[in-house]
């Protein structure tokens, strides 16, 4: 495949931000026709490096060569002229416009007729099913991503950069994407594939560059590595396997949701329709699903943050909580780990002490007659930091000073140490590094072994299969019935992600 001259060569690229070195003399070499993975934990510096390649950021040191020629990439326009295309993790599409209109906005010089022909032709050539006249708001995340990819391909890129492309895809959509990418590689286009999903990288990529803390760590051939060895290179230490559950499932219904119907409080939200679920003590129910299928609404309804449901009942430990607010529900013994870490689960410009009080005031009896006992809150914050290994300079630090993983450990710790009888967690390890994720998973297992019920809502199928005893799938605001972990495969779960679950037998349709 190599023509002797690399397509893109980064030499000693550094980028400094106030108080941190995002990239520290990183070298990267991408050959034509190569699918090249850029691997690293959150905060390792992947995004910064990619923004430098795409001209969004300027490097503070180092040089870039394109086809052997030194270049300075002054902005995304120049990057596109060179032949670099990029699909961002967060799409930049207008929901009210059609596929074709969105693409036309990026290519204003083309006449609509020729553009339509080219879009259809390109989409077909690479197996990217697209209807040019459908509005974006009707499309799934996978379809939206295809628009972005086609938009890039119309500019005939030599290098296509994809940032965490599969985080919003079902397993089936992921497989389709991989076929497209392999076709592109055969045409001698290079792909820079940013991910922290190791199995994907192993099956897809020819080569991988691993960075950690802004520094180059290793170049390797992913297919010759194991997921574990890649992960250990990424985080720079051995990973302890998650302890397996030992306790039996108890005959206690921690959470029962019957026929729950909720109208979303958000303008483009998802309404929940006839949701049924049950979680017992000592058991984990995992709810899989692609983001934006009602997970946020379900969490809001369960925590009581978004008011009473339109119909149906939510029972927590045998109590109908429809009319109760979050604090009263917590008093019954339930704790919540919501999806949004900053701004919902924690307040950025408050200290860890104040953040400790946020959800524990009533349950931990930190206030008497409205007066806060700050001594006890301090002690609790210290306990959370100590027992959950939160790396911080002290409990007086602001939440914003913690890394994402550390803050999540703090939040999970704050909830767990309230000794809940029921834990409801959404995306508990979203964007958290592998080490912190493993410790959060172990803590969840420990809680289950102690007899608590756990509901985990997660987009991460690996996490669902690791933790859950039973698995259900949320799709378009409907929930499938649950099946035991051992009786369903990730592919079957993937098929359920696009289905509207009208009957309780939905899962059986797929599995039998």
């Amino acid at each position: 495949m190599s023509t002797g001259i690399s397509l893109l060569t980064l030499d000693g690229i550094s980028k400094f931000f106030p108080g941190c070195v995002a990239n520290d003399s990183i070298n990267l070499n991408v050959e034509p026709g190569e699918i090249h993975a850029l691997l690293g934990e959150n905060g390792a510096g992947k995004s910064t490096l990619v923004k430098i390649i795409y001209g969004v950021l300027r490097p503070d040191a180092g040089s870039i060569r394109w086809n052997g020629e030194p270049v300075q990439i002054a902005g995304p326009n120049q990057a596109r002229e060179l032949g670099i295309g990029m699909v961002f993790q967060h799409f930049s599409l207008f929901e009210a416009l059609t596929t074709l209109e969105n693409i036309a906005l990026a290519l204003p010089k083309e006449s609509p007729e020729t553009l339509r022909a080219r879009v259809t032709q390109t989409a077909e050539a690479y197996g990217l099913g697209l209807d040019p006249d459908r509005h974006v708001h009707e499309l799934s995340m996978g379809e939206r991503q295809r628009i972005e990819i086609v938009r890039c391909l119309l500019q005939d890129p030599k290098l296509l950069i994809l940032d965490e492309p599969t985080s919003v895809l079902t397993p089936q959509e992921t497989e389709t994407l991989f076929e497209t990418l392999r076709k592109l590689a055969i045409e001698n286009r290079a792909i820079l594939y940013i991910s922290h999903k190791l199995e994907e990288v192993r099956t897809l990529c020819d080569k991988a560059t691993i960075i950690r803390n802004g520094q180059w760590v290793d170049d390797c051939v992913p297919s010759k590595e194991t997921a574990r060895s890649l992960a250990e290179k990424m985080i720079g230490k051995k990973i302890d396997p998650v302890a397996k559950r030992v306790a039996p499932i108890r005959d206690i219904t921690s959470l029962r949701v019957s026929d729950l119907t909720v109208r979303s409080y958000q303008p483009h939200g998802v309404n929940l329709t006839n949701i049924h679920l049950e979680v017992h003590g000592g058991e984990v129910l995992g709810i899989a699903g692609i983001a934006g299928n009602g997970q946020i609404e379900l969490m809001g309804a369960l925590s009581g943050e978004t008011g009473s449901p339109q119909s149906g009942t939510i029972e927590i430990l045998g109590n109908n909580v429809n009319a109760l607010g979050p604090s009263a529900r917590r008093d019954l013994g339930v704790v919540f780990v919501p999806e949004e870490r900053i701004g919902q689960a924690a307040v950025a410009d408050m200290t860890l002490v104040e953040n400790s009080l946020l959800t524990s005031a009533t349950r931990m009896r930190f206030s008497y007659g409205g007066l806060i006992n700050w001594h006890r809150v301090n002690a609790y914050a210290k306990k959370v930091v100590r027992e959950f290994d939160v790396r911080t300079t002290g409990i007086r630090s602001l939440a914003s000073s913690l890394s994402g993983g550390n803050l999540q450990k703090f939040i999970v710790g704050r909830e767990m140490l309230q000794e809940p009888k029921l834990l409801i967690a959404a995306q508990p390890t979203w964007g958290v590094d592998a080490g912190a994720a493993a410790s959060i998973h172990s803590e969840i297992q420990r809680l289950v072994n102690a007899g608590a019920g756990v509901l985990v809502i997660s987009q991460d199928l690996d996490e669902i299969f690791l933790l859950a005893d039973r698995i259900a799938v949320i799709s378009q605001g409907t929930l499938s019935s649950s099946v035991p972990n051992t009786q369903i495969t990730p592919e079957e779960v993937g098929l359920l992600m696009g289905v509207r679950h009208t009957s309780k037998s939905a899962i059986n349709d797929v599995t039998t």
Binding site: E305, E340, Q344, V347, A348, E354, S367, G370
Partner: protein
């Protein structure tokens, strides 16, 4: 090209230093303005900032002026902390004076010892009632409290003018707008007659400490701060937003109303159209100058009161126009906002 970039860390020292710097730069800018006006800047600044503090009567006047500013400023800082922008404290101040003062107008011959305490409570209720209008509209219809509270200022002003020129006008007042003079039972006792510092000033001094305690030590104070910093986190924590809207507006309105009735019973002794030299608006500056911290508001209230008294002194002994007082307050706010910007942001230059 210059542009602003958020700082990674907002220093607490800078947060408290910026009002000091703002005051210093205001003095320097003021000196330059005096120079341009042909006055000796040092003398003018002395008259402005120092002279009010050199006599008992000056100190007394500063205390009397600071009173309403501090009361209103403390009340507003609750709302501003919660992100509820009550701009209508001036109207709530007037409403407090009307409702409280109305009792004295009605019982103008009373000697009852409970008249004054009742008027104070009525004043608080009047201010709270006026603030309840934006609170209801905000909680019920999500109406913008900035606009509603501000517009109600003009309603309150016109209502006051109507009352003192119409139904409540002093029959023995030779047609001047204004009510009867309040009876003695409705007048704040003076501490050191003839100096005007009165019992209301002592109440005023107490309020910031109570407010400090409430904000620092109670669940209620924590919820106010929480709601202001992160409404979604507040909701997650179980805070009900409409309750915060009501509470913060009622506290702001109640304290503004108290300020109004304290002013009417303490320094004026009747209701008349000009019962406020814009205290309700100036208190917004006071609240921010004091970093929305009750003790800071107390200090800021004193500082701004000095500009009022100094401004009067400057009119009399240096022949400076009255507008200089407003000018000074504007300059202080300007510098304060500028420094605040730089405590949060820094300027970076980009070559292209």
């Amino acid at each position: 090209m210059l542009r602003l970039e958020p700082r990674n860390h907002v220093s607490l020292l800078a947060t408290w230093l910026s009002p000091m710097l703002a005051l210093s730069l205001t003095a320097i800018t003021g000196g330059i303005i005096f120079l341009i006006m042909g006055k000796d800047p040092l003398v003018a600044l002395y008259i402005y900032f120092v002279e009010p503090l050199t006599s008992i009567s000056g100190l007394s006047e500063v205390a009397v002026k600071a009173g309403p500013l501090v009361l209103i400023g403390v009340g507003l800082s609750f709302g501003f902390r919660a992100g509820i922008w009550n701009i209508g404290a001036e109207g709530q101040y007037i409403a407090g004076a009307i409702v409280g003062g109305g009792l004295a107008v009605y019982w103008y011959e009373s000697t009852h010892v409970m008249l004054l305490p009742t008027m104070l409570i009525a004043g608080i209720l009047g201010g709270a009632l006026w603030a309840a209008i934006p609170a209801y509209l905000k909680a019920r219809f999500n109406a913008n409290e900035i606009l509603v509270s501000l517009m109600l200022v003009y309603v309150a002003e016109l209502l006051l003018v109507h009352l003192v020129q119409g139904p409540w006008r002093n029959p023995m007042g030779w047609g001047f707008p204004g009510t009867r003079m309040f009876p003695d039972a409705a007048i704040m006792p003076l501490f050191f007659p003839p100096h005007r510092v009165h019992l209301g000033t002592a109440i005023t001094l107490l309020i910031p400490f109570v407010a400090w305690f409430v904000l620092a030590r109670t669940q209620f104070g924590f919820r106010i701060k929480l709601f202001g910093s992160a409404p979604l986190a507040a909701r997650h924590s179980g805070v009900k937003s409409h309750r915060i809207v009501w509470q913060s507006l009622l506290i702001g309105g109640g304290l503004a109303g108290l300020a109004g009735i304290v002013e009417a019973t303490g320094t004026i002794g009747q209701l008349m159209p000009d019962i406020s030299p814009g205290y309700g608006f100036t208190a917004i500056i006071v609240a921010f100058l004091g970093r929305l911290h009750p003790i800071g508001v107390l200090l800021a209230g004193v500082a701004i009161a000095i500009t009022y008294i100094g401004g009067e002194g400057a009119q009399i002994s240096a022949g400076l126009p009255k507008a200089v007082t407003g000018l000074f307050q504007g300059i202080i706010l300007f510098y304060l906002l500028a420094f605040d910007l730089f405590t949060r942001y820094k300027i970076v230059s980009r070559s292209n």
